[in-house]
């Protein structure tokens, strides 16, 4: 070994060695899996501004041509396809998809009323809430389904509305089916559509989520979509957008303008590196630290209660383009405790973040942020929990109102 050799060349040579052929059985396995795996409709996570100006027109038209083509009532004896489409439509496939899925859907709703065996008809049964009974535990006594038609239902999928009845209670659920897949698919986000995936007597069904090893739980219903406990460093929920300029979609198509709610354990305002433990001793100290920085545009904190714990509520309104810093690790990753990370511009084209000595510096998005700084009960792994609700000024109030039931549902559970 000689010191004169180029180490970069050696490293490059080192990487040239090794396996570089994917065995055929892997291709075969992939092929088998994709035959059983429906493609998701396009759902954007990040806010962009390139919404097709004609899309709302198309979507409005789509909403007008939702039609019933199949209906079956167990007790009433109606047959599938017995009710024709309400409106003729070039995109309405009134017989093909319906007949192709009749057996599956009939078997599915029969099994749900019977109280067993429905799992075999669904790709991921554990995702289907109220499979055999209502929230009160009442078993279903009858059921029916209808196909929901619109323009370009998610890319070849057929969508079905399944209705189940238990006395006066009616549960409605949205299922999808692909011609290539004999199983029905249920998605907690309704495949990005504006249709709540499950309603009970017309109200979207709230789903429970547990975070931080279930020390913190919350309940959220459509139009909120929350992350799985382990998907991202900080739990967060996205709110399907609505309001001026954003019309409903029935095709799961392009989504713009998600608003978000984050949970941040033991939040840190400043400092360098990702230390363990709270950056402030309590919510009051953290609120004072936030208020002490004029650039953050923080409002005076107001005492509230969240999950039975004392908390402070305040807004942070940092002007777009303002330079802000958040703690980061030595690899340049933003610390999960960084309370300003939700308003740090990370996604826009051309945005840049610099890292030095455990601090990431960039510019603010201009979104407003409602903070709940909660002094959690003793015995939990964290001392402070922050709930950060983030939205542009124009939709801020709507998002706060939509987030209120989620915040109200937060509970703390000591291990």
């Amino acid at each position: 070994m000689t010191a004169s050799r180029d180490p970069d060349q050696l490293i490059q040579s080192f990487f040239e060695e090794g396996l570089d052929e994917l065995p055929d059985p892997v291709y075969d396995a992939v092929r088998d899996r994709i035959d059983q795996t429906p493609q998701r409709a396009e759902v954007g996570l990040w806010r962009t501004s390139n919404m097709n100006r004609y899309l709302p027109i198309g979507l409005a038209a789509a909403a007008a041509i939702v039609a019933i083509v199949g209906l079956r009532t167990l007790t009433g004896g109606l047959t599938p396809g017995g009710i024709p489409s309400a409106e003729p439509s070039a995109s309405a496939t009134t017989s093909g998809p319906s007949s192709a899925f009749d057996d599956v859907l009939n078997g599915f709703i029969d099994a749900r009323v019977a109280g067993e065996g429905a799992e075999q008809f669904v790709s991921v049964p554990q995702e289907v809430p109220l499979l055999y009974a209502t929230t009160s535990g009442a078993p279903y006594d009858r059921a029916e389904f209808e196909q929901v038609l619109g323009i370009e239902w998610p890319y070849g999928f057929s969508a079905f509305n399944v209705r189940l009845f238990a006395g006066d209670t009616e549960v409605e659920q949205l299922f999808f089916a692909s011609p290539d897949n004999a199983l029905l698919e249920y998605q907690q986000d309704g495949f990005g559509t504006d249709i709540a995936p499950t309603t009970e007597n017309g109200q979207p069904l709230a789903v429970s989520y547990g975070y931080y090893l279930d020390e913190v739980t919350l309940r959220a219903a459509h139009p909120w979509i929350f992350s799985a406990p382990t998907t991202y460093p900080n739990p967060f929920g996205r709110l399907i957008p609505e309001g001026p300029g954003v019309l409903p979609t029935t095709d799961g198509g392009q989504r713009n303008g998600w608003d978000r709610l984050f949970l941040i354990a033991d939040p840190a305002l400043g400092g360098a590196g990702c230390q363990q433990g709270p950056g402030s001793v309590d919510a009051v100290a953290l609120a004072e630290a936030i208020r002490s920085q004029p650039d953050l545009g923080a409002t005076a904190p107001v005492a509230v209660s969240v999950g039975g714990a004392a908390a402070l509520m305040m807004d942070v309104r940092i002007a777009a383009g303002t330079t802000i810093s958040v703690p980061a690790d030595d690899l340049g990753n933003l610390c999960r405790a960084a309370i300003l990370s939700p308003v740090l511009e990370q996604e826009a084209v051309g945005s840049s973040i610099s890292y030095a000595n455990g601090v990431a510096t960039g510019v603010a998005t201009g979104d407003w942020m409602r903070l709940y700084l909660i002094d959690v009960p003793d015995g939990l792994s964290m001392r402070i929990l922050s709930v950060a609700i983030v939205a542009p000024e124009a939709s801020f109030q709507r998002v706060l109102e939509a987030a209120a039931p989620v915040v109200d549902s937060i509970e703390f559970h000591a291990p």
Partner: protein, 183 residues
């Protein structure tokens, strides 16, 4: 050709996606193996990535960017494999005595051993940056784009990882020199 297959696959054409997978599979395997240093884990990561790609394909706006997009998915699949499998942590691997395909003949068995050990001490995120930079030959800005991290993060990871790899070679050189002197 590839873009056409992507378009067809986006419409749910499984045959087209199968053809697409066979076009890009070997390169994915090469990348995954170099990140994970384990053939079985690499196969699992590629399989996961391809299925994820199929499932999420409709979110890909530009068919020409299929492969970079797939590489980002693959990288995250590698992260998941590395974290979920304890087998990787065992870090036991036979170092080939003879170079395999197309190897620079200046790379010795000792070099490989040192580099392998150094690589295994790096995080999987750092290894990914190294692979995209040294194996695929991408500039750091493109590495960042492909992995989906800020350029600053990519630079930081590359700097740290390259320094560690170089240090392993220098340590080996010092060791060899010492042994030569002792002899």
């Amino acid at each position: 050709m590839q873009a056409t297959l992507v378009d067809r696959a986006k419409q749910g054409d499984a045959e087209a996606f199968d053809s697409l997978a066979r076009m890009v599979g070997d390169r994915c395997m090469a990348i995954a193996f170099r990140i994970l240093r384990d053939g079985d884990l690499a196969e699992d990561a590629v399989q996961t990535a391809l299925i994820t790609a199929w499932r999420e394909l409709r979110s890909l706006r530009n068919p020409d960017l299929f492969e970079p997009w797939l590489h980002r998915i693959l990288t995250h699949a590698c992260y998941a494999e590395a974290r979920h499998r304890t087998r990787w942590a065992a870090g036991i691997r036979v170092i080939p005595a003879e170079p395999v395909h197309g190897v620079d003949n200046t790379l010795t068995v000792d070099d490989r051993d040192q580099l392998e050990r150094a690589l295994r001490r790096l995080t999987v995120e750092q290894r990914a940056v190294l692979v995209f930079h040294y194996y695929l030959g991408l500039p750091i800005s493109e590495v960042a784009e492909r992995i989906g991290i800020p350029v600053g993060t990519a630079k930081s990871r590359l700097h740290h990882a390259t320094r560690a790899m170089r240090a392993s070679l220098e340590a080996d050189a010092r060791s060899s020199t010492t042994q030569e002197r002792m002899a």
